[in-house]
């Protein structure tokens, strides 16, 4: 299904759609307040972008440096070209350690690789421990936002879900009560887990260390009880120096939720005494993006979600309408790179207002890339006929002055005479929620000619 079809489903519940819009705008407003409290915010964004550009330009060197240092600290490093290899590697590690129960903290990469169903099919119990992720896991849904995975659910729905799975009181929907129930439920899972899996926010080349940021403390609970820690990362998580964290950590939480820093910013250097740390470095299409100059900057992304919170289309259509692991503006440029045929509609899920570009902490030129993708998808002939026709006609009319003048004249004459049945027929997608403005008698050019003529 295309984005417009899925979005239409989402806005059918109008009250919920409005709530969703306002909830995300609230996060955006919080982000603005704290960002404006940092006088050097713009300098930080610029420097963050420069660090990312530099890292990507020397990626093979930094990856080898990272691997060497991580191994020196006692970690084991694995490499995966694609999702299948990634899943096999993780399963292999778990199997060789006899793991039956795995606790996970947030990792969009493992969502991207569909690790959970892969492991579950092989008999493992996999528990997502971030509260939002646990909610969507119990509901058998994917996350709808990379930072706020259950933002599409009202508390009453979560209360119902918890009543069924965690035996909370029927009808109870108080967030504090539900969170307390989840705390008890998940503590049990942490205590019984045989291994913990985390994502990675930053991997430091010069030290071989990993940094993971959470507010709940779930990554730390999950890795400090069982002896086995697996950390999965896309190779774009790399940064050269530990001091670069000073820049990124000041940007990340402020951009994501308007916090000065996440509650826990954990630095893992090597395994725990008596434990094991396995790091899986994944490509899965990233190297293809890297090769394309116009789309390369998408790999700067630090997954803060700010572009989603600000996007007028995301706020009103919900994350599930994108049908991709990473939704929103950044997802709309990452997903078509992965599969243009499947995700052709996403770069059109934007008004090109540029708000995403304005809030991006690493200065990704999001709305330019969205436009560039539209061009690319047209070149690949992946647009539906209606869009292609409209674009061809539009292109032709705008190319010739006489065509422009005559089509205007024709429209001003004909459209006011046409009955609504025809004018607002099925072909008029634009007119489904909108009314045409009253048509003037003359065009601007005609009025201008008259005015200038009469003055002379």
């Amino acid at each position: 299904m295309s984005h417009p079809d899925k979005a239409a489903q989402f806005i059918r519940d109008e009250a919920k759609a409005h709530w969703h819009d306002r909830a995300l705008w609230y996060v955006r407003a919080k982000r603005d307040r704290v960002a404006q409290g940092v006088p050097e915010w713009e300098t930080l964004r610029e420097i963050a972008a420069q660090i990312k550009a530099h890292t990507l330009s020397k990626l093979p060197d930094y990856l080898e440096m990272f691997e060497g240092n991580a191994k020196r600290l006692g970690a084991q490093v694995h490499w995966a070209s694609n999702a299948a290899e990634h899943n096999e590697i993780v399963y292999g590690i778990l199997k060789s350690h006899g793991v039956r129960r795995l606790v996970k903290s947030k990792s969009m990469l493992t969502e991207e690789c569909h690790l959970n169903p892969f492991l579950e099919a092989r008999g493992l119990e996999v528990v997502d421990t971030d509260l939002g992720e646990r909610i969507v896991q119990l509901a058998k849904e994917p996350p709808s936002h990379i930072v706020l995975p259950a933002i599409h659910k009202r508390k009453e729905e979560i209360g119902e879900l918890f009543h069924r799975h965690l035996h909370t009181e029927q009808g109870a929907s108080d967030p504090a009560y539900l969170t307390e129930a989840a705390r008890g439920h998940l503590r049990g899972k942490f205590l019984k887990a045989d291994a913990g899996l985390t994502g990675v926010n930053f991997a430091i080349a010069e030290t071989g260390g990993l940094v993971v940021c959470t507010n709940e403390g779930n990554a730390d609970m999950g890795t400090s009880l069982p002896p086995l820690h697996i950390a999965c990362m896309g190779f774009e998580k790399l940064i050269p120096r530990a001091q670069d964290l000073g820049v990124f950590l000041r940007l990340l939480a402020r951009s994501a939720t308007g916090q000065p820093i996440t509650t826990y910013t954990s630095h893992f250097h090597g395994p725990r005494a008596g434990g094991e740390l396995h790091i899986v470095i994944v490509d899965n299409g990233r190297s293809q993006i890297l090769q394309r100059e116009e789309f390369r900057r998408a790999l700067f992304c630090i997954r803060c979600g700010a572009c989603m919170n600000t996007c007028p289309v995301f706020r009103r259509s919900g994350g599930h309408s994108y049908e991709s692991t990473v939704p929103g503006p950044i997802g709309s440029i990452l997903s078509p790179a992965r599969d243009p045929r499947k995700y052709w509609s996403l770069p059109h899920a934007s008004s090109l207002c540029g708000s995403c570009t304005d809030v991006c902490p690493v200065k990704i030129d999001l709305h330019h890339q969205l436009l560039a993708w539209r061009k690319e998808l047209a070149r690949l002939r992946l647009l539906p006929l209606s869009k292609r026709m409209a674009m061809n006609i539009g292109g032709w009319v705008l190319r010739y002055t006489w065509a422009y003048e005559w089509s205007g004249r024709l429209a001003r004459w004909a459209i006011p005479k046409l009955p609504r049945v025809i004018l607002y027929g099925r072909w008029n997608v634009w007119g489904r929620q909108r009314e045409l403005p009253p048509f003037p008698k003359e065009s601007f050019r005609e009025m201008y000619k008259q005015k200038v003529g009469s003055r002379r």
């Binding site: 909830a23 940092v38 050097e40 691997e67 070209s81 509260l131 967030p175 705390r183 893992f268």
Partner: protein, 196 residues
């Protein structure tokens, strides 16, 4: 090895223009009263703060804390602070800490910008002690306060295996309708005490 080489070979094919690694000199805000800034930042993230002159004063303050008064099982890793009844060094299995009420730990330094305290597992037999107790109390030498994150990383070196974490306030979540709830998986309260 082959997989690694395959990935690196693909990456080497895309030769990107050289861009310099930026210098981070001069970044970071310095505060007129960093201690007040720290206290405000910590309050903003739901943490508690107090300041004492010496260990005696710290013990007096501790006795006044509700979370401490109500605690059954207490770990303290600072000699002379509190009346601990669980000896961390005698706990074999970290899972046995599951019903711990209070942990009193040493924070190496604090960051004024965001109310964070740097804690490492250098002296900790079980790293989970930072996360599993119901309430966490961090004691920091009042002189070990930096203004911002850039100064923080100037202090840190990562040459040895080990674990370190910035902790800023209690564990929390807003995953249900954006309603902030304190006490997600980790401690339900986080108190920082400056001493000296």
């Amino acid at each position: 090895m082959n997989r690694k080489q395959a990935i690196l070979n693909v990456l080497k094919k895309s030769s990107l223009p050289d861009t310099p690694l930026p210098d981070l000199q001069g970044l970071g805000v310095c505060y007129e009263d960093p201690e007040r800034q720290f206290a405000e930042a910590l309050k903003g993230v739901g943490g508690h703060f107090f300041r004492v002159r010496d260990l005696n004063a710290l013990n007096r303050e501790l006795k006044g804390l509700k979370v401490y008064q109500n605690a059954q099982k207490i770990v303290s890793l600072i000699p002379g602070v509190g009346e601990p009844n669980v000896n961390l060094d005698l706990v074999e299995d970290p899972h046995d800490l599951k019903d711990l009420d209070v942990a009193i730990l040493k924070g190496e330094f604090a960051v004024a910008e965001n109310g964070a305290v740097w804690v490492t597992d250098r002296q900790l037999r079980h790293r989970v002690i930072c996360f599993i107790p119901q309430h966490l109390i961090l004691v920091v030498d009042a002189h070990q306060l930096v203004h911002n994150m850039h100064q923080a990383y100037e202090r840190l070196t990562f040459t040895e295996p080990g674990y370190g974490v910035f902790i800023s306030g209690p564990s929390k979540t807003a995953d249900i309708e954006q309603a902030l709830v304190i006490g997600a998986h980790g401690p339900r309260s986080s108190t920082v005490c400056f001493i000296g």
